[in-house]
Symmetry: C2
Subunit: 337 residues, 2 copies
Amino acid sequence: MIRVALDAMGSDHAPQVELEGVAQALRELPPTFKIQLVGRIADVEAGLEQVEIVDRSRVELIDAPEVVGMGEKPLQAIRGKPNSSIAVGLGLQKKGASDAFISAGNTGAVMAASTLLLRLHPGVQRPAIGTVFPTAQQPVLLLDAGANVDCDPRELLGFAHLGAVYARDILGRAHPAVGLLNIGEEDEKGNAVVKEAHQLFKAATNFQYLGNVEGRDIPAGECRGTPLDVVVCDGFVGNIVLKFYESAARVFVSLLRQEIPDILKRPEMAKVLKVLDYSTYGGAPLLGVRGVSIICHGSSQPKAIRNAIRVAVQMVEIEMDRHIDAELNPSAGKAVV
Amino acid sequence: MIRVALDAMGSDHAPQVELEGVAQALRELPPTFKIQLVGRIADVEAGLEQVEIVDRSRVELIDAPEVVGMGEKPLQAIRGKPNSSIAVGLGLQKKGASDAFISAGNTGAVMAASTLLLRLHPGVQRPAIGTVFPTAQQPVLLLDAGANVDCDPRELLGFAHLGAVYARDILGRAHPAVGLLNIGEEDEKGNAVVKEAHQLFKAATNFQYLGNVEGRDIPAGECRGTPLDVVVCDGFVGNIVLKFYESAARVFVSLLRQEIPDILKRPEMAKVLKVLDYSTYGGAPLLGVRGVSIICHGSSQPKAIRNAIRVAVQMVEIEMDRHIDAELNPSAGKAVV
């Protein structure tokens, strides 16, 4: 039984959104997992009365009397609140009592605590936040979506390796095609870091490198006719593009709602909205830490929590952790399946 | 009579798109301008037979036997082809025989030639490409959209000044509100360049600084409740966001077309499509060069050319050039109106 610890105090509407997500997951996903709800016991118990849990024996309550606020400084919050839901949830995984952690709380605090408690895979210099973008074709994994504002070329190469394993293991791409986000396809395009990274990527052998890709290739889901699986950039660019996209999608939909209110009721809109809807993809994995840590949006809906649980279970089942070790340390580990 | 030189050989469907744009401009805009069509005379004359020009006396043909290709290296192309439509068109302005230049050709070549021939305003370190983004509110000017991959904090401050003048003169914002594109609103967010730029922007007095803004604030058109007029970033980030947006808008429209074909015929869609449609805003001004140089997309439609002509005329009429001098050199020039 896979043990997924869920920060019950994370989202803007915690714990209710989290608990509704758990209820959905228990109802809809294969019964290979149990949930460890980490938070203030009284709040969680009160919240549980509002939702219908099909199998209460698969839900365990773990007390964490402290809560990290959205505005708190990450390191300070983690050090100052050892009994927060974030620290307790990740602590379980550290001591082998849990297999995965999910939180819709303070992103910086989850990142810091994950790095401190779970530590990094040998060979990883920095962890990266991966985000799955809906596109006109198959979804594309973009990383780093905000963990690192400045990256050197080797760190970007590390992200390419991490992204390739995720695309293979979780998105089911047999030979992940990786692009480096740039402002043109030619070798000489871009800033100094990206130019050097481009050369490192060209020399890499364990993923298919499509070359420099541009901003337009992400929503298109392809680059020069080849489907794109992974796009690598630093966390400054990635975070701006991610937030831009979320907002643009919201603006599109609210424009449609305002101008043509009846259209949103049409069944064909479902596919259109799905393309604009992040929550389908279930949170952003923090790649590079040992174990599983998934960050959800503060404004997550229950469906996003449910899907994050699905992804967490999948990451554990498929042993992604072992595959990352093999990818980064091919001589030490077993070969990647 | 304002003299607007138009590169007739620039766009992917040159010269026909350009000539149709000219025909629209002559029909629809106030008759304060004439057009100087710069290109291969034979091609332009043949093309003119396909369009209806209401007032042929306002169109002058200027021969430029060479054409810069989209794939050519900018500096090499400009130096190697002194009789290209780009070099000839900008040359007219240099010698005082023209007031503005518009091209949908090789962006790098237009930038290089504009800088070489027109030169920069005193106080400007680098020119920036301004792009007007449709948003949920009023349009927002983003710069730099791709002229400079690496920028130092002072250059970003220069872009803020250039953007503020454009927002005031062309977009009609009395007190332009400027934001610095970052990954969070707090002082300590961002990379080293942006952090230092944030401090410089805070100390600036001749525009209203809204502080750090995030990717999501661009499509929203506001930041923390205040309407946004100008967003400053380096050309690496700006170009990626711009191309991402263009592509996302295309994907969104084609999804709607595919799933709900009848919807595009509904009159209420016009407003939705307008928000997704760049061509409304008429090209990207290269700000910081003396004079007027406007870059259009290679895939421009006639409406985009028409609107670029409208913007070029407006930039000349309002004497934006003089206002930029005053903004950058307040002691030397007259006060900005």
